[in-house]
């Protein structure tokens, strides 16, 4: 657990970057600091590993005040990932990853072997081990940066906009892998981003900062979407809060209609299946070959996806499949809307 | 010191003037030649590395050696001022050729593509778009070459064309420090004035680099 206790940071010249911040970052969870430029999120992050020192207040990790510890040793126990990776160009990928173990005096051969294992963990091929950072793409460099932060197996990790400098497709892949990794490792992570969607996607807890270093609201992503504390938070979270909130509701309770008999009332379209029962597309009476589906969903997917599939579908309905890809249900727009109404009545009780 | 200045004022002045043209003519010649050379090195990519390599080799040769090889190659007397003029021009060319090439490469991008799309012909684009954009880098190189040349002219005293360098050799032979110190001071002042002059010229020629907001 990381605790901020009335922490303030004023820079010479009078700029108040962080104003009386008190916050708890739960152990084993991802806490995201998010907010516009100049809101103090990065400053707050960097006070945890003392790369910036607070003007007043204390920060503690598991009860121990960080200012009482040797800064260098403290940092070796905290993983640190930054926006442009900051890899050492003069060292190979393996030696980059093994930086902190080397500093801690671990036997070089052993440290390097463990570093190679970490490569696989972050989704990189072993052949990358002896390459140099300049030979890697941006996304690959970022993965190495994460591996480097994990090398000494620190309980705490600080991440400062780690996925902002790559293109959206790469970023999406990195985010998914990051969540998978965290599910395995369960580290206490402080994550900074300026992107509210990323915050909602990744955070167990989200802390929204306002310009001037004030905490505007702290809570789970669902709470922020459902009950923004004020207009700033509502604006920052975005106009389509309701729709985005659906991404936290799974489709397991959604009723579906049987596949075989399904006919779209509006257009008369029928679902076309192959021999194995997998959906191929919608056949309309007038058009010969079936129109392909926008996608399918499973019971584990969320309602936001299902709604989107239904809207994009030429037949106005989303198709559910089981784990083998066999179609096992169809749900039309109207059914989804009915389900949402039922949910609302449930929550009002 | 003051007495020396008073007694030898005319000589010192003529040395200074000689120093000035011995330094500046090669700058002008070298700079002028470096523009087409640098341009060609960019247009014909296979030329780039040879230009850089030859320039590096040339620039590594000590000045006195260069001044003394030129008479053999072109057949003038050892004490001809041409040796210093040609030698320093070669140095300037070696230094600035690469500067021009690198500067032109570095300004290629959206602006030059836009210029081409607007219909600029290559020469006009070079003169009207690329060179002005490359001006800061070019001037940086020019300032370096100028200060270097001013320092090197004094070596020419050993081959009869030394400008202020004559004060050094004269002082040495007589065992007087005054002329040497005066020569050093004047040489540094000259370098300083030329440097400032180039900065002012740069500002005059590139007013757009001075205005504009902070990013």
């Amino acid at each position: 657990m990381i605790t901020f206790d009335q922490v303030t940071k004023t820079f010479p010249g009078g700029n108040v970057a962080v104003d009386d911040l008190s916050l708890e970052l739960p152990t084993g969870q991802i806490t995201v600091f998010v907010g516009p430029s100049g809101c103090g999120k990065t400053t707050s992050l960097r006070m945890i590993n003392r790369t910036i020192e607070p003007t007043s207040g204390t920060i503690s990790i598991d009860g121990e005040d960080v200012s009482t510890q040797d800064a260098a040793l403290l940092r070796r126990k905290i993983g640190y990932v930054i926006q442009h990776a900051g890899l050492f160009p003069h060292r190979t990928v393996v030696d980059n990853i093994a930086t902190v173990p080397f500093l801690n005096g671990v036997n070089k051969k052993q440290a390097r072997e463990e570093a190679v294992q970490l490569l696989a963990r972050v989704g990189l091929d072993e052949s990358m081990a002896n390459r140099y950072p300049t030979q890697l793409s941006g996304g690959q460099q970022q993965r190495v940066g994460v591996a480097r932060a994990l090398a000494a197996d620190p309980p705490v990790m600080l991440m400062d906009e780690p996925f902002s400098a790559v293109d959206p497709i790469v970023r999406d892949g990195l985010q998914k892998e990051f969540l998978r990794l965290q599910a395995e490792l369960g580290k206490t992570i402080a994550f900074v981003t300026h992107d509210i969607d990323e915050a909602i996607k990744l955070g167990d807890t989200v802390a929204i900062f306002r310009v001037g270093g004030h905490l505007a609201q702290v809570g789970s992503p669902q709470e922020l979407l459902d009950n923004p504390a004020d207009e700033f938070v509502a604006d920052f979270v975005g106009r389509d809060r309701g729709f985005r909130g659906l991404s936290f509701v799974t489709a397991d309770k959604l009723e579906v209609e049987p596949v075989r008999a399904y006919v779209d009332r509006a257009t008369g379209a029928r679902l076309v299946l192959d021999d194995g029962g997998r959906p191929q597309g919608w056949r309309f009476e007038e058009i010969g070959s079936p129109q392909p589906l926008a996608g399918t969903f499973t019971v584990e997917d969320n309602l936001r996806l299902v709604t989107d599939l239904a809207i994009s579908s030429p037949a106005g309905a989303a198709v559910r499949v089981d784990h083998d890809g066999v179609a096992d249900g169809v749900v039309a727009h109207e059914a989804i809307a009915r389900h949402l109404t039922a949910m609302r009545r449930e929550s009002e009780r | 010191m003051i007495t020396y200045l008073q007694n030898n004022y005319p000589e010192i002045l003529s040395d200074l003037v000689q120093h000035l043209w011995l330094a500046l003519i090669p700058i002008v010649v070298g700079a002028a030649l470096s523009l087409p050379l640098g341009y060609l090195a960019v247009r014909i990519p296979s030329l780039y590395q040879p230009v850089v390599n030859v320039g590096a080799v040339l620039y590594s040769i000590p000045s006195l050696a260069l001044f003394l090889m030129i008479p053999v190659i072109i057949g003038v007397g050892y004490l001809s001022p041409l040796n210093v003029l040609i030698g320093l021009s070669l140095y300037t060319l070696a230094l600035l050729g690469r500067t021009v090439a690198d500067a032109l490469i570095s300004v290629q991008g959206e602006t030059t593509q836009a210029a081409q799309a607007l219909g600029y012909r290559p020469l006009r684009q070079l003169l009207g778009v690329e060179l002005p954009m490359a001006a800061p880098v070019l001037f940086a190189g020019l300032r370096v070459a100028t200060v270097a040349n001013i320092s090197l002219v004094s070596v020419g005293a050993l081959v009869g064309s030394g400008g202020l360098g004559d004060l050094f050799t004269g002082g040495f032979q007589l065992g007087f420090v005054e002329p040497i110190i005066i020569g050093i001071v004047l040489s540094m002042l000259l370098a300083g004035v030329c440097d400032v002059g180039l900065v002012l010229l740069q500002r005059r020629l590139t007013p757009w680099t001075r205005v504009g907001g902070r990013a």
């Binding site: 590993n49 790369t51 800064a71 260098a72 940092r75 640190y80 930054i82 900051g86 890899l87 050492f88 160009p89 003069h90 060292r91 500093l103 140099y132 300049t134 600080l158 | 780039y48 080799v57 620039y59 040769i61 000590p62 006195l64 050696a65 260069l66 003394l68 053999v72 050892y78 230094l95 690469r98 500067t99 690198d102 570095s106 300004v107 290629q108 800061p136 880098v137 940086a140 300032r143 370096v144 200060v147 270097a148 001013i150 320092s151 090197l152 004094s154 050993l158 202020l164 360098g165 050094f168 050799t169 002082g171 007087f176 420090v177 040497i180 050093i184 040489s187 540094m188 370098a191 300083g192």
Partner: protein, 247 residues
Amino acid sequence: MLNYFGYLFDGANWQLSGDSSIPERLAQHVGYTLAALALAALIALPLGLLIGHTNRGAFIAIGLGNLGRSLPTFGLVLLLVVYLGVYIWPVLLALIVLAIPPILAQTYAAIRSVDPAAVDAAVGMGMRPLQVLFQAEVPMALPLIIGGLRNALLQVCATATIAAYASFGGLGRLLIDGLNRNQYDQVLAGAVLVAALAIALDYISALIERVVVSPGVRERGSRRSRRSRSAARTQSRTEESAVSTSR
């Protein structure tokens, strides 16, 4: 024309012993050059690293760099010899003093030019200041630092040549003595040998640079195409060669 090369090809001049033989002069020249460079580096490198790492006293590095560039090398050598006498050590002193500014300025610039993200990462991971300097900053700045040393090497070699006028030894003696005696074959021999020495020293130092600098940091011949060079980097490269002046 052929008699210009008389001196160069006269076997008598190439004997290994004897004061005025070519090998002797060559050894003197190389010896003094390397000694002066080493001593200058001993002073300028640590100072440059310190100023670069702490970013305090930058004006010393930059100011001295500019000052050194405009100081006429020939004048300084003769000044010190007149003041201190016609010995070897005033010339060596001049060589060292002249070599310090370019090494200092270039080392400082090299450390400052290092990728700040990598330095931030180094500090954030728990390296102590000296570790940051030697395990992160210096290896990344190495090409520029060595570049500064190579420039200084050529400058010292060139100044040592001219110092022959002040009765210094080395290959410059061939030039000076030859001029005095109107023995132009000797002059040409000297000129060719000095030029060849300078080129050889530059080439050897380039080889050393290749060995010492990590493959991940080499700029020239790296996979990055030269077309991707930004204007800022070109400016800093010009400044890099800017430190090299006197020849």
